[in-house]
Amino acid sequence: MPRRNDLEQKALQFIINTGYEGVLQSELWRKLRASSREGSRIALKLEDKGLIRREKELRDGRWTYRLYPKRLPASIDSIADCPCLLCPDNPRCDPSSAISPRSCERLTEWVLSITKTEFGMMGDS
């Protein structure tokens, strides 16, 4: 049945796009303009195939499922500006040596720059 497969693909894409937030099953079938029966069948099928994870959630007094993608497209964004990525001292970096992630100033600066963006100030309050 091509329609079912199309819908499955669309649903999977939609779930992947929600990332770590996931999406409520009820929301999904409304977005896809499918019936609740179709929606839950698709969710079950995707779970069977190991593509998504379902977690029970109480919403407005009713039990529904939140659907999460099992694998997200790999992205380097979270560490792209981390100094460890290109650090020339990497082979010598160890907690027991002079070059250590405990005291590395480059790492401190990176953490402080994130702190600054997140809290709008230096971490030295």
Binding site: A74, I76, T115
Partner: protein
């Protein structure tokens, strides 16, 4: 072509590993099946030694593969390079694991230590044990050092560690 990775991610990795030159180089590799360092240098205008430097860096991370043939006229080796996009996901995951390990070490250290600081830009924070030995004077600028509240650093580290764990599915 790329299973779970899009072209934008490829460019982001090139940026993280190198600079604009690495991005240009990746563009050429992406659009050709196999190419030589000479061709890349001609097409991008990047100096041949820089091209090779970037290629070797990518090769170190298995992001490109290498085939060697001999030039029948000169007898010199010709290197043929090919992008290995299927290795990209593995590369990203292993880098994240490495960063996560380091951040965990730092998080534990920050949790278990009290820090003292002279609040002069460019000077280091000193853990209490060391501060005691240097009688609370900054070894760099000589000013007296005061207690440094590291709770924001702790929050940032905890958040980052959690984010990376989530992304790695741990």
């Amino acid at each position: 072509m790329l299973s779970n990775i899009d072209d934008a991610t490829l460019v982001r990795v090139a940026e993280a590993l190198g600079d604009e030159e690495a991005v240009k180089l990746i563009e050429i590799l992406k659009n050709s099946d196999e190419t030589t360092d000479d061709e890349i240098a001609n097409k991008t205008g990047i100096r041949l030694n820089s091209v090779r430097k970037i290629l070797y860096k990518l090769y170190d991370h298995s992001l490109v593969s290498l085939r060697r043939t001999r030039d029948p006229k000169t007898g010199w080796f010709i290197f043929h390079w090919r992008l290995q996009p299927d290795q990209l996901e593995g590369f990203i995951l292993s880098q994240k694991r490495r960063v996560l390990e380091k951040l965990n070490i730092r998080l534990q250290y920050e949790k278990n230590h009290d820090f003292y600081y002279c609040y002069t830009p460019g000077c280091r924070r000193i853990p209490f044990e060391d501060a005691l030995e240097i009688v609370f004077r900054c070894p760099t600028c000589g000013k007296s050092i005061m207690h440094y509240e590291n709770d924001k650093i702790l929050q940032t580290l905890t958040k980052k560690v959690e984010q990376l764990r989530k992304e790695l599915g741990e």
